[in-house]
């Protein structure tokens, strides 16, 4: 049954921030499913709602942000109906998360060991101190930290950035969660460290069979690690599909723009990078039509008045753009002309 293939299913999720200036629809009706052992990339520029969407899965939304509609189902259970205590037990246990800036994400006044074992003890009261410590050390070794025994008793400031992110990953995976949400885990790191961390995540994903939602603005990282990609723009998914489909036959103008703005080593290096012009829309006053329309080179009249529907290109590759319906319009006109002639 198809249901069993789905680890998490998000349907028409809407998240709004209620600011003094008005309601900001940070996530405006997005839907996707994620299978077991699958890595999905969520790509978009800052402010596109990709982190907010992840926070609402793991229940980390902070006031004034609130889920205002839709559903999130995890292994058949409705996460939005969970009590705060149920949600707490769920967090870190079934789903865990790693963040962008490893420099600030570890508590500076506690040892790495303390923070690692805490993740274990708050979900498994029965575990003994020695067991927790042994497990933590094993986890540190697994993420490639040498001298783990000694490192356990060090403080975060004694770790380098890459090491801290490794520790963060160890902390996230220590309870063997089914889903890991990685929110730009490599953005704040040096390029060489980035590659190491990506390599590590790929390896761990393979070994632990954890599903990953990988949030990034870097398409190169997506190509490296993901099976499938969702492209987000201004709170909406604009295109979704297998990583190859997205890279080799992008359908949405925004995705095309993103790809054109990305340096590629495999192609003719004389080709110029083309930035996407304009700035993201103001979510307080979203346009009536397509959110991307004001920046879109291919913008049509209808794009300014009406939200585009999804078009299906097969194998789960969908894209929300009016351009896909141009043929339909031509067909309509021909039909009308025909009927007028008749």
């Amino acid at each position: 049954m198809a249901e069993n293939d789905r680890l998490i299913e998000v349907k028409d999720l809407r998240v709004s921030f209620f600011t003094p200036a008005g309601e900001v629809k940070a996530v405006d009706g997005i839907s996707y499913s994620l299978g077991y052992n699958e890595v999905m990339g969520v790509v978009g520029e800052s402010g596109s709602g990709k982190s907010v969407e992840a926070y609402s899965i793991i229940g980390l939304l902070q006031s004034p942000g609130r889920v205002v509609g839709g559903s999130i189902t995890f292994e058949g259970e409705d996460l939005l109906a969970y009590t705060p205590e149920q949600m707490r037990q769920f967090r870190g246990n079934k789903v865990s998360m790693i963040f962008q800036n490893p420099m600030t994400c570890l508590n500076p006044v506690y040892t790495i060991g303390n923070q690692l074992t805490e993740a274990l003890t708050c979900h498994d009261k029965g575990i003994s101190k020695q067991d927790a410590r042994a497990r933590a050390i094993r986890m540190l070794e697994l993420v490639g930290i040498n001298n783990a025994e000694k490192r356990m008793d060090q403080y975060p400031h004694e770790f380098s950035g890459g090491m801290r992110q490794r520790a963060m990953i160890a902390m996230a995976l220590i309870c063997r969660p089914k889903l890991l949400i990685a929110d730009e885990p490599t953005t704040a790191l040096d390029v060489t460290i980035q590659a190491q961390i990506l390599e590590l995540m790929k390896r761990l994903q393979h070994e632990e069979k954890t599903s990953i939602i990988f949030i990034t603005h870097n398409l190169g990282v997506v190509a490296e690690i993901c099976d499938r990609v969702s492209v987000m723009y201004a709170g909406k998914i604009v295109e979704q599909g297998a990583v190859n489909d997205i890279f080799y036959s992008p359908a949405h103008p925004y995705t095309k723009g993103l790809l054109a703005s990305m340096p590629r080593l495999d192609e003719d290096s004389h080709e110029r990078l083309i930035p996407i012009e304009g700035t993201p829309i103001d979510l307080l006053n979203p346009p009536k039509g397509c959110n991307f329309a004001p920046r879109c080179k291919e913008c049509r009249k209808i794009c300014l008045h009406q939200k585009p529907p999804f078009a299906d290109f097969g194998n789960g590759h969908v894209s929300a753009c009016w351009l896909h319906f141009m043929d339909r319009a031509r067909a309509n006109d021909t039909a009308k002309g025909a009927s007028a002639n008749a």
Partner: protein, 454 residues
């Protein structure tokens, strides 16, 4: 491919809905740039200061505090001009009154005022001036001029005017006034045609202004003193804050800009001053400075000496204390700002263009550090007011007849059991001033600190 992605896709494409839209080729004409522009909502871009001002204005608490502080300023600086009493005048007949209370003499005069149009009561005059001397006088009242000559001095009496009476101007002795304001005996004053040459004017009053806060044991009006005290305290606070601002920012800027050994030595000095319990030194300083300052003021009666002399040695030595000890926090803040800004490129550019050190401080560093300076200065004012009141409390600040809110509080202590309100009024005003300044400072911090910008 390990997963069937189609199965995972939640997107249902509904062909019928698309059909219902009845799309036409006209819908797919390329949109012009103007059309694209028209759907974009643009924020007006605002400058840092505009934005800060907007943030400050939208902060209700700070705006209320600002309003209250302006009221305090009006009370302190405009108030003394609106009431007939003066902070230093002693009204012998009105000693030790509670708030709104009239002395016996005043009650009589109030009662008498019901029986005449206007009056001049010698007992309501300050100090020893309880008599009108012999000589020529005139009174302007109700569009008429009344001129007369006094053959002998009038003491403990009221010069009353009743325009409709046969003898409009007459003198009633205080002892002849009954409780209801009637009087048995009065002496008419003979009027002359026109004022004699060199006649002095006498201004009549129509009522007795109440002692709203009461009077002290020397018969000084406490509301006038509180107003004046508030004035003195606010001046002390602002001047001390400016002194701290100037010395602190110069010291901090030099230390931060110079760097190296100079910075090291300058910061050790700051640390040393920081670790001294300053109050001990302040107390000593006050005692040390008072006498030399007084001598100096006596010798220099003009220019700056006169201005400082008016303030008195107590206040001036408070300024000196601030100049010597209290600038260290400001210096640290400025140095921190300078170090932070020094790294920024526009300063490097200025140095590369050959700008001098002072020019860099004046043109580049201070304008950028101005947010931190404004906040610290604003919060320095209450601390100066506090220190002055503390010293006055210990008997080292201003001395009578000068007044500050602190000295008024400490004067009130002697009679706290009989007249608790003598403490309450200055204490409440002191608290309100400090409170409103603190809240304004907090509001400025929220408005000027872009890190808190949401």
């Amino acid at each position: 491919m390990k997963v069937n992605f189609a199965k995972l896709s939640p997107f249902q494409v509904d062909p019928e809905k698309i059909e219902a839209l009845n799309l036409t080729a006209a819908d797919f004409e390329a949109a012009t740039n103007e059309e694209k522009e028209s759907v974009v909502y643009r924020h007006k871009s605002v400058s840092y200061w505009r934005d800060a001002a907007r943030r400050f204005r939208s902060n209700t608490v700070s705006m209320v505090a600002l309003f209250v502080f302006i009221l305090c300023l009006l009370f302190a600086f405009l108030g003394p001009k609106l009431i007939p009493y003066n902070y230093s005048d002693q009204y012998r007949s009105s000693q030790k009154l509670s708030s709104m209370q009239y002395s016996e003499d005043e009650q009589k005069v109030v009662a008498l005022s019901g029986h005449c149009d206007a009056f001049f009561a010698t007992v309501l005059q300050p100090g020893s001036l309880t008599a009108i001397k012999k000589g020529d006088y005139f009174i302007d009242y109700g569009g008429k001029t009344y001129a007369f000559t006094l053959k002998k001095a009038i003491e403990k009496a009221v010069l009353a005017l009743d325009a409709d009476a046969e003898a409009p101007l007459f003198v009633v002795k205080m002892s002849d006034i009954n409780e209801d304001g009637s009087f048995d005996k009065s002496t008419p004053v003979e009027l002359s045609e026109a004022p004699a040459e060199g006649a002095s004017p006498i201004r009549l009053s129509t009522g007795v202004f109440p002692h709203v806060f009461g009077t002290d044991s020397s018969g000084r009006d406490l509301m006038a003193r509180t107003m004046f005290g508030a004035q003195v305290s606010i001046i002390i606070g602002i001047v001390a804050a400016i002194i701290v601002l100037i010395i602190g920012s110069i010291y901090g800027a030099i230390s931060g800009l110079a760097g190296g050994a100079v910075d090291f030595v300058m910061m050790r000095v700051v640390e040393l001053i920081y670790s001294i319990p300053e109050v001990l030194i302040v107390l000593l300083l006050q005692v040390v400075l008072t006498d030399p300052l007084r001598t100096w003021f006596d010798a220099h009666k003009s220019g700056i000496g006169a201005i400082l002399g008016d303030l008195g040695p107590g206040i001036v030595s408070i300024f000196i204390t601030f100049a010597l000890l209290y600038w260290v926090t400001m210096a640290r803040i400025v140095r921190g700002q300078v170090l932070q800004l020094k790294k920024q490129e526009f300063v490097t550019a200025a140095v590369a263009l050959g700008a001098s050190g002072t020019r860099i401080i004046r043109r580049h560093l201070l304008p950028n550090a101005v947010g931190a300076l404004v906040i610290t200065t604003c919060l320095q004012i209450p601390s100066a007011i506090f220190l002055e009141s503390f010293l006055s409390f210990l008997g080292l600040g201003v001395s009578a007849p000068m007044a500050s809110l602190g000295s008024l509080c400490s004067d009130a202590l002697a009679t706290i059991e009989l007249f608790p309100d003598r403490l309450i009024y200055p204490a409440v005003i002191l608290t309100i001033i400090v409170l409103s300044l603190n809240l304004i400072g907090d509001g400025l911090r929220d408005a000027l600190d872009p890190r808190l910008k949401k």
